[in-house]
């Protein structure tokens, strides 16, 4: 390795792409910041856009609770591409261009049956692309036709969990395998709101000590 500090502190100190050395505990802080300031790109092509971008952004559902209310019309300023709607063949190159214009780290959420698989247009259709993942890598799938705003929030929390558990410095964009973020059966709106309240209280501040204690370096006396 050459650098003594990396050999001395396995798991804590690691190389970053620039070649210098960074302490691993910074991951927790950076991930916390990224997870709580997701700016979605308002890419709505059909009916899912009404639920995903209009209803959830409005005051009644209030996406601002998760730091994700700043919907950007420009991919240069967005972190999260919400594919809300059917992707037809003529739209596919535009979607790819938008994805490539986004700055890293970038995350993709495919909401609704059309963006997951082509949905009701899967058979005998000449124009519809069968899922956004034929064009761009997708991190979270949100089933529904269209999904309810609660399902979208559930997916947003899932994505935040993924980001928080990811390696922020070693790999910059897609961290884990994509997940299907389906709401468990029998859950009501009141349950979700209560859970969201708890989550918000818990996540409103990052506990660096606790994050450090949960890492692979725990109990070795480094932190």
């Amino acid at each position: 390795m050459g650098l003594k500090i990396i050999d001395d502190f396995p798991g804590v100190a690691m190389k970053v792409p620039g070649g210098s050395v960074m302490l691993g505990v910074m991951d927790a802080v950076i991930n916390w910041a990224r997870a709580n300031s997701l700016w979605p790109l308002s890419f709505g092509t059909s009916c899912c856009a009404i639920e995903m971008l209009m209803a959830t952004g409005a005051p009644h559902q209030d996406m601002a609770r998760f730091g994700a209310e700043v919907a950007r019309p420009s991919p240069r300023q967005a972190d999260l591409l919400v594919v809300a709607g059917t992707i037809v063949k003529r739209m596919a190159p535009t979607l790819r261009t938008l994805y490539e214009q986004m700055a890293e780290p970038r995350y993709v959420m495919a909401t609704g049956a059309c963006a997951i698989s082509g949905g009701p247009f899967i058979y005998n259709n000449y124009s519809v692309v069968r899922g956004a993942d034929e064009i761009i890598p997708v991190d979270v799938y949100v089933p529904g036709c269209p999904p309810r705003p609660e399902a979208f929030f559930y997916a947003l929390l899932t994505l935040q969990r993924m980001i928080r558990s990811g390696d922020s410095l070693k790999s910059r964009h897609v961290h884990k395998r994509p997940v299907m973020s389906a709401l468990p059966a029998g859950i009501t709106v009141a349950d979700i709101q209560e859970e969201l309240r708890d989550l918000l209280e818990r996540d409103s501040a990052v506990d660096v000590e606790k994050e450090a204690a949960a890492g692979p370096w725990a109990g070795k006396g480094y932190c």
């Binding site: 003529r90 058979y123 005998n124 259709n125 000449y126 124009s127 069968r130």
Partner: protein, 154 residues
Amino acid sequence: MEANELQEVVLAFASGAKVREKTDRPSLTVPAASLPDLLAKLKADERLSFDMLLDHTAVDWLERGVLELFYQLFSTRHGHTLTVSAEVPREEPVAPSVSGVHLIAEWQEREVYDMFGVLYEGHPDLRRLLLDDSWVGHPLRKDYRDDHMIERPK
């Protein structure tokens, strides 16, 4: 004008027209060759004044081997509507263009050409409207298939 009365007046104009049964608005079937003349007369007449072509589309009747062209007419002066339809053979779908009567038909006929492959005689610029120029075939025909398509399992 009432629906029955309207049909009577229109039938006087249209030679070889048949009234379609079981429709919720006055509806006629005419020979395709008489379309431009008929639509021009319907537009010019004081009592009818069908001055707006709301929509033009087609239906592919695969078993009968015909494409049925539909023209939805509306009168902005009187507020009544009329549906005119004409059949052309599926193998040789040639119809006269009505873009000389209603200018909007120029784009509507381009769309029907794009989706069904109906060829309009006298159309000033018959190109595809929605799909790529390199597209092969006309996708709204019932027997259209391409490599991308998945057939619905029986």
